[in-house]
Symmetry: C2
Subunit: 461 residues, 2 copies
Amino acid sequence: MTVTAAVDFARVNGGRFVDELKALLQIPSVSTAPEHAGDVRLAAEFVAAELRRIGMENVRLIETATAGHPGGHPLVYADWLHAAGKPTVLCYGHYDVQPAEPLDEWKSPPFEPTERDGNLYARGAVDDKGQMWMHVKALESLMAADGTLPVNVRVIVEGEEEVGGEGIAAFVREHGDALKADVALVSDTEMFAPELPTLCVGLRGMIYTEIEARGARTDLHSGMYGGAAPNPFVALAQVIAKLKDEDGRILIPGFYDAVQKPAEDELKAWKALPFDEEHYRETEVGSVALTGEPGFSVLERTWARPTLDVHGMPGGFIGTGAKTVIPAKALAKVSMRLVPDMSPAETFAKYKAYVESITPEGIQLEVRLIHSGDAIVVSTDNGYIRAATEALREVFGRETVFVRGGGSIPIVGDFVRELGIPTVMMGFGLPDDNLHAPNEKFHLANFHRGIESIVRFLGRV
Amino acid sequence: MTVTAAVDFARVNGGRFVDELKALLQIPSVSTAPEHAGDVRLAAEFVAAELRRIGMENVRLIETATAGHPGGHPLVYADWLHAAGKPTVLCYGHYDVQPAEPLDEWKSPPFEPTERDGNLYARGAVDDKGQMWMHVKALESLMAADGTLPVNVRVIVEGEEEVGGEGIAAFVREHGDALKADVALVSDTEMFAPELPTLCVGLRGMIYTEIEARGARTDLHSGMYGGAAPNPFVALAQVIAKLKDEDGRILIPGFYDAVQKPAEDELKAWKALPFDEEHYRETEVGSVALTGEPGFSVLERTWARPTLDVHGMPGGFIGTGAKTVIPAKALAKVSMRLVPDMSPAETFAKYKAYVESITPEGIQLEVRLIHSGDAIVVSTDNGYIRAATEALREVFGRETVFVRGGGSIPIVGDFVRELGIPTVMMGFGLPDDNLHAPNEKFHLANFHRGIESIVRFLGRV
């Protein structure tokens, strides 16, 4: 009984697994920050060394930096392919993390992993170092139980998920054979509620853009030039106010043309989920009211409707006090979440054309695409999803719920398109884990349950 | 002939005067930055020491820091009151400077004064250390010529002009007797064109504000919460787009109610000034088009019409690359320039009430006043203005033009209101001197002409 022995091994060694994760979390592998490139590579080497130690084979770093993609971070690859006649599972995760700013809002430093109340706090705790580490530890536990794995396994761990995943996308496109598998396993999503086993069967796509507004040639004094010189911030405000109306409806012509409505069954299942909008507003969001398109529930708005957000507006004077400058330029970081069947390229083209058409007088706008990813919906009618729900039932003693995620994991689309395989998105984060925000955490009980669930899933596939 | 001897002294010592100014410009006396508080004091002491050295009396620093105004920077005071029966001139200047950011746009470092092509480049070169130093050097030259001054003189130099001048305003209000004079002389304005002697007879007032928008309790992931969580940047964009329409007209109810139109004579004189809007657009502003209210000339729009500008929007993610955050809060730094007879307090009240009335759903707004100042118009029909125009004619060989300034020098309003004295605004900056912007400069020929003009003005008063 490999699986039972592996589960026992994971229970006995759980404390060590957490200690190892802490060591990985201490490495500030912020993929968007050039100054952390060395840390990103260090994290890759850390993961590769552990895969080698637990008995995986062909472990290596695959460089992704090319002339067209300078500064690309390496992929970590490993496999074990000796389960003749059994399917091959492709385990995917990422070792890079979001920037930790604003630093002053962290209760403990983002790269000094700290346990409080059964949670492990650190940047990357749940997204995705902690969840990726569950895969590694599940493989170790199975391998430790009797020296083999119950299925063939390939592992691919990337270092650019938080910056668009260009390197892995190119690799999947060009070297798909090297990742040949029957199903992918991705643990980069969350459970719908504590204790509620959850599989994610849909993800929004995205386009992340910048609008740069240029007015005067140089910064000008607002006393002397105010009333004659164009103001890039006022211009960006006017543009943004025309991108989204006050009800949250996006005003880009044709934006909603390709949007697919979820099936009636799926909408009905969402209505049955334990979800209270007022409780969500109060405990998760904490704003005085929720926003978004009228006529859609919060779950529809965050899972099945496209949205537009502004993340920051660099430029001008942002210090304390007063500086009376009309800045020469200002930027808006604007992203849109897409749903099936919106094309990122077509959506960006519509957005760019519209923004250019509403350019305020005196201003020159440049609209840039930073990165993009397809939306995805996975069919629940396959043996891998069934194997996953059975594994989760054994661990949690409850039936699995199927949800969608509002976020984007572009690689899942690449797996469908380039490798022709479905993905099981089995995640163990919680709604209050503060992904991408200060005080990111991973509930440690879920770390251990996740390892056991993955062990059981691999045993059943 | 005190005046002739003083002019000769200034010419002989001009090189030394510039060297001294360079030493003063090396002190980064950025009044808005708490970390530069020591530098601000150092600049005050530098000015006081020189006033003492040239023979001024009662030289002292006057502290302005109080419980209600912590961190206030000192005033520098000096006088020489032995010209019995002669009027008293109050020489005003400021030794503090604007922040130097963005640093990477300076061709030479902002606090390493550098001469290029007859100009002296440094933060504060013209605003106002260089122009304030003209006063000191004019007094030195007169004093050196025969050991006395032709009039009574008080000198007051502040260190908070760039942050609203609260300290000097309180001092003028509470200790007006200590500054008793017949006329004030302020050199903190510019010439309308090179070689064209200029007196400024009007200034816009201002209110500088911050709007803080708060949405969610903490930063949220835009994938997971986009479509439900309010976005403070989108909210601020919607508010700003409702503050000013695309023609540059301000939409705050009642905003224009008190605006005084300039007299027909003044408007006619402005039309006669050597000013070409297309040339101004191309050489000074450098934008593809000018903006502002239709139906008003550029000079009217920048001198006699109120305006609204946004200076920066702190918050969220401003690094390079992508971060998919819905920030919990964002700020907009918004200022308005006011014209006679707009009250700063009433204008702020109207603005605040309006902004609050258009608060987007899910957002909490806080509107804060950072500082404010009155608009001012000076009558040209007085002996001091005539003395100034005669002094300028002797130096430049041309008739003086009367202009207004778009900027704000709140102290000029305080001199009228609290001391009951008119101000002669005799400035020697040039339109391309980059006030408040990178590569601020002072044309050195104007520094020397300015000293001579002030010597001659003091000789005539």
